[in-house]
């Protein structure tokens, strides 16, 4: 597959692995990735096994489904019970446990909840069923948020009154700053490639000014990730931290101006609650007043009981890199992909799902 297979080359991977081992770093270092797709790629391709023992790759809060707190799901479930309502969602939200139920369970009980690949599919459902309220669950970072923003603009311009979004979108750079002020030692960041396609390398310059931290923006194939790790370790070794782009075929300094423009037209910045971290100021996106008609939180102000987390669930600590999945007492011990207790196990991109499916490495 063009622009994909060329980056899955064992000669290149072996060479990069050797080069990383040759970089002089005489102490243990921790490099954090903040993208669920990186978590999965690293696990799938067994990349941790190609790194020297003093380099530890840790997962941060890069899975948007995992960092969405229970009350969003509880709210979505409450809305699904309103008559003539259709919930449309990306697939991995279906099995995430809320305080007492999940979308999958509610679907089995008779609620109209449909998995879609794109907001464009949800718009088609809204057009085909003007008698139903179609509510799209907006979860995702800057890669996905423009597609939801675009759907709101399309609905608005068509007068598609029955389409609305329950918005829980979050943005990455404020979370990176919060992590740098947190407890976990982070020597470098593997930055998310497709978020960066949208927001551009420029979005991290403020972080670089405030914290001297080695960074490289990486794509998702083995050569992409190993190449970025080579850059990060070299920056650390030379004490020359920088924001580097190792994914130049898809990431520019300014990002995608059309996607950024639609984000700005439809959303405004707000505070957001991240599972495991708590409130991060300015880390969320809220639908602007102009589009209130398409804001499901305003259209359907349901009252829900106070959300509860399973007290044994350690997803919060896993999402901040404090512990690895096998240090959670529930991992493989009640919590499995077939029977997930926490979001990290159920999401396609959760740390625990990756660890469970691809085995333990680099412990």
């Amino acid at each position: 597959m063009k622009h994909l297979s060329e980056y899955r080359n064992s000669d290149h991977a072996r060479t990069l692995s050797i080069e990383i081992a040759r970089v002089r770093i005489d102490r243990p270092i921790q490099i954090m990735e903040v993208c669920g797709t990186h978590t999965m790629s690293i696990a799938r391709f067994g990349l941790k096994q190609l790194l020297p023992k003093n380099i530890r790759l840790i997962s941060g809060p890069g899975c948007p489904v995992c960092v969405t707190p229970n009350n969003f799901l509880d709210r979505a479930i409450a809305i699904s019970k309103i008559a003539d309502t259709t919930i449309c969602t990306f697939g991995d939200m279906m099995r995430v446990p809320g305080s007492s139920s999940s979308l999958e369970v509610e679907h089995a009980r008779g609620s109209d909840i449909r998995v879609v690949y794109s907001t464009l599919d949800a718009l088609m459902i809204a057009r085909a069923h003007p008698d139903r309220n179609v509510v799209f669950l907006g979860v995702g970072f800057e890669t996905t948020a423009p597609t939801i923003a675009s759907s709101i603009e399309i609905a608005h311009s068509e007068g598609l009154k029955n389409y609305s979004v329950l918005c829980a979108h979050k943005v990455v750079p404020p979370a990176i700053e919060a992590l740098l002020s947190g407890e976990v030692k982070i020597d470098g960041f593997l930055l998310p490639g497709h978020v960066s396609s949208i927001i551009g390398a420029k979005s991290y310059r403020g972080i670089a000014e405030r914290h001297a931290i080695a960074c490289s923006i990486a794509g998702f194939e083995p050569s992409d990730i190993l190449g970025a790790l080579l850059e990060i370790t070299t920056q650390i070794s030379n004490s020359k931290p920088a924001i580097h782009t190792a994914y130049a075929r898809a990431v520019t300094e300014i990002g995608n101006s059309k996607a950024l423009a639609v984000l700005d037209r439809v959303f405004e910045s707000c505070d957001a609650n991240w599972r495991g971290i708590g409130n991060i100021p300015g880390s969320g996106l809220a639908i602007r007043d102009k589009f209130s008609q398409h804001d499901a939180a305003k259209r359907f102000p349901v009252s829900i009981d106070e959300s509860v987390d399973n007290p044994a669930c350690r997803c919060g600590d896993i999402l901040t890199g404090k512990i690895s999945p096998d240090e959670c007492p529930l991992f493989r011990n009640g919590c499995t992909p077939d029977h997930p207790i926490g979001a990290c196990m159920v999401s396609n991109e959760g740390s625990c799902a990756a660890h469970f499916n691809y085995g333990a490495t680099n412990i």
Partner: protein, 77 residues
């Protein structure tokens, strides 16, 4: 959810396009792409093209990787 697949534009119809990879075709929105052309490769995510792939940069990256691997082979022999 950063999953995006590189696919090639086969046809354009207003803001929508038909993209193809390994024989699979999809209708996607090209509304985020500046001056899309048939033949361009774009990254597809949730039914939208989110970025055009810069062929020049891609070639440079592959060339660099090939050179590194070549040097490593020479050093071994």
């Amino acid at each position: 959810m950063c999953l995006a697949i590189p696919m090639q534009i086969e046809a354009i119809d207003g803001e929508m396009g038909t993209v193809e990879a390994t024989g699979i075709k999809r209708e996607v929105s090209l509304s985020f792409i500046d001056d899309p052309s048939v033949g361009d490769y774009v990254l597809i995510h949730a039914g939208f093209a989110i970025q055009k792939i810069d062929e020049h940069q891609a070639n440079e990256t592959i060339e660099l990787l090939n050179q590194m691997a070549q040097r490593a082979r020479e050093m071994k022999s």
